[in-house]
C-alpha cells in the first residue's frame, strides 16, 4: 500500500498542478485572446514560442530554465535582487516550470474555443451597447465554457504527468519538489515494484478518466489541442 511519503508526493503533485493551472488560465486567457484577435506580425512568432514545449524534450526546457532561473541567470539575478533568492529546487520554481511546460495545453484549446466563437457574436454585442470588455465577460467567456473546461483538465493532467522538467528544475526533495512521477522513478530505482505499481496504476487510471471525460462528456476532438 501507499506509505505516508507516497501520500506526501500525491498532495504535492496536486498542489503544484492546481496552482500551475490557475496561473496558466490567468495568463493564458488574455494571451490566447490576443493571439486569436491580433493582426500583429508578432502573432506567428508568439504562436511558435507558445507551442515550443510541445516539441522540445522536457530536459531541454528544464536545462534552460535551470540556467535562466539559477544564480547566474538573468531571472535568477532579478529574483535574488528582489530578495526572493533563486527558484530552482524550490516549490515556487516547480510551479513556474510547470506553467511554462504545460501552457500550450491551456492556450491552444482556448484559442480554438475563441476562434470557434468568431466575430459575429462580438459585433452583435457591440450593436447592443456592450463595450469590448463587457463583451468578453458576457459573451466570450460563457460561449467558450467548454474550451475553458478542456484547457483546465488538459493543463492540470499534463502538469501531473510531467517528469523531465521537474527533475531538472525541482530536483527530488521530499515535501518540497518530489512529485508522483519522480516518486515512481525512486521506487523503481529501489526495486520497490509494489509501491511503484500503486502509484503508476493510480496515474494511469487518473489519466484515462480525464481523457474519457474529455472525449465523451465534453466531446472534444482528439486533436483539438493541436491546431
Amino acid at each position: 500500500m501507499l506509505t505516508s511519503a507516497d501520500f506526501a508526493t500525491l498532495l504535492l503533485t496536486f498542489k503544484v498542478a492546481s496552482l500551475a493551472t490557475i496561473f496558466m488560465l490567468l495568463f493564458g486567457t488574455p494571451l490566447a485572446w490576443w493571439l486569436e484577435r491580433t493582426q500583429s506580425k508578432w502573432r506567428g512568432i508568439i504562436n511558435a514560442v507558445v507551442a515550443l514545449p510541445l516539441v522540445l524534450p522536457p530536459t531541454v526546457l528544464g536545462f534552460y530554465l535551470l540556467v535562466l532561473l539559477g544564480k547566474n541567470g538573468i531571472v535568477g539575478e532579478f529574483t535574488t535582487w528582489l530578495g526572493i533568492g533563486t527558484l530552482p529546487f524550490t516549490f515556487a520554481g516547480l510551479v513556474v516550470a510547470s506553467v511554462l511546460y504545460s501552457s500550450p495545453f491551456v492556450i491552444q484549446p482556448l484559442q480554438n474555443a475563441f476562434s470557434a466563437i468568431g466575430n459575429q457574436p462580438l459585433e452583435a454585442a457591440a450593436t447592443l451597447r456592450a463595450s469590448p470588455l463587457d463583451t468578453f465577460f458576457s459573451v466570450v467567456l460563457p460561449q467558450a465554457k467548454s474550451g475553458f473546461l478542456t484547457a483546465t483538465i488538459l493543463g492540470f493532467a499534463h502538469t501531473v504527468g510531467e517528469f523531465g522538467v521537474v527533475l531538472m528544475v525541482g530536483g527530488n526533495i521530499p515535501d518540497k519538489t518530489r512529485v508522483v512521477s519522480v516518486q515512481i522513478y525512486n521506487h523503481v530505482e529501489a526495486l520497490e515494484y509494489t509501491q511503484a505499481h500503486w502509484l503508476a496504476g493510480g496515474l494511469l487510471a487518473f489519466s484515462f478518466i480525464v481523457l474519457l471525460i474529455l472525449y465523451t462528456v465534453l466531446k472534444t476532438s482528439p486533436n483539438a489541442s493541436l491546431k
Partner: protein
Amino acid sequence: MNRKLNKFITARFKLCYGEFELSINLRLPNSGISVLFGHSGSGKTTLLRCIAGLQQAQEGYLEINGSVWQDSDVGVFLPTHKRSLGYVFQDANLFSHLTVRENLNFGLKRLKAHPPRPPSKGGDFHHIVNLLGIKHLMERMPERLSGGEKQRVAIARALVLNPEILLMDEPLASLDSKRKQEILPFLSRLNQELNIPVLYVTHSQQEVAQLADYLVLMEAGKVQAAGKLSETLSRLDLPLSQERDASSVWNAMVVEHETEFHLTRVAFEGGSLSLPAIEAKLGTPLRVQIYARDVSIVLETPHATSILNVLPAIIVGISDGENGQSIVRLEVGTQALLAHITRKSALVLNLKIGKAVFVQIKSTSILN
C-alpha cells in the same frame, strides 16, 4: 434629443481595400424605410457597416439626427457600442448561450446603465414582442427556433433599444420565400407603428417594391441614384426602368368594396383603381405595384374594352429599350407610371413628350 429636429442622415465615406473602393456622399431622410439596393459587391453592406461603426472608413463623416458619429478630419470615431442604433444581421446572430428573453434584455440592461437616449418603456417592450409575434418563444434557446423566428427575435432585440436608426442587412436573404412572407408584413407594420427610421440593405426587387419609401441604388461602391421610391423606379436614365420586371409602385387607400363584382376600389392622388377584392377596412393604406409590361397606351378613351382601369395620363419621357422596345414614363395625376411598349407602337401613335393619352392597366398586384 428631439427627433423632429435635423431628421436626416449625412454620410460621406471613402474606403479602399484591394480592388474595391467605396466612395459615398449621401444625404438621406431619417424617416420611413430607405432601401440600399444593388448587386452583391456593390458596397451596400460595407456602407451599412461603416454607418454602424463595425468598419472604419479611412475618410468619413457621419451625422445622424444632428449628432456626429464620425468625423475623420477631427479624429472623431464613436465606437459601435456608443452609437444609438439597432442592427439586424443577415443570419439573426442571436447569442446562442442566452434564451430569447435574455437576448432581448441584453441591450436593454446596458442601455439602462448608460442611456444615450431612453430605452423604450415597458409598454413598448410588450408592444414590440406582440408586434413580432414572439411572445410564446420567450423562454426558448435560439437553437430551438426556426429561421423566421430567429430573425423576428433579432429584429425585436434591436427595436427594444428604441434606437435613433435601425440598420438591417439583408434580413430576409437567408430565409425561404415562405418565411419571407412571414416577416415582410411585420416589417411594413413596424414602420407604420414605431417611429424608428430604417436603413435596409437588399438585392431583392420584391423587397424594394414592398418596403422602400426612399431608394438608394448602388453600383461598384458608388451611389448611382437616390430618391423617393416611385420617382427613382421610373427614372428612364436608370437600368431599373429597362428591366423586364420594371414596375411602378403607388401608395393608395381602400375607398369602396364592390362586393357583387368581387372588386375593391382604391384611391391614389389623382384617381382611382379597381382591384380584385381584398379584405381590408375602408381607409386602409396599401401599396399597388404595376408592372410596366402590363401597361398599354391608347390615344382616346376606348369605348369597348374589358380592361377596367383606364386612366388619363401625360407622357413625360420616352427612351429606347432593347429589342425594339420603348419605355414611356407617364404621369397619372401626381403618380409616375412606366409603360413598356413596342417601338413600332410608339411611332404609329406618334407618342411625344407632353402628349395627353390614356393608359390601360391590365393587372396590378397589392403589396401589403
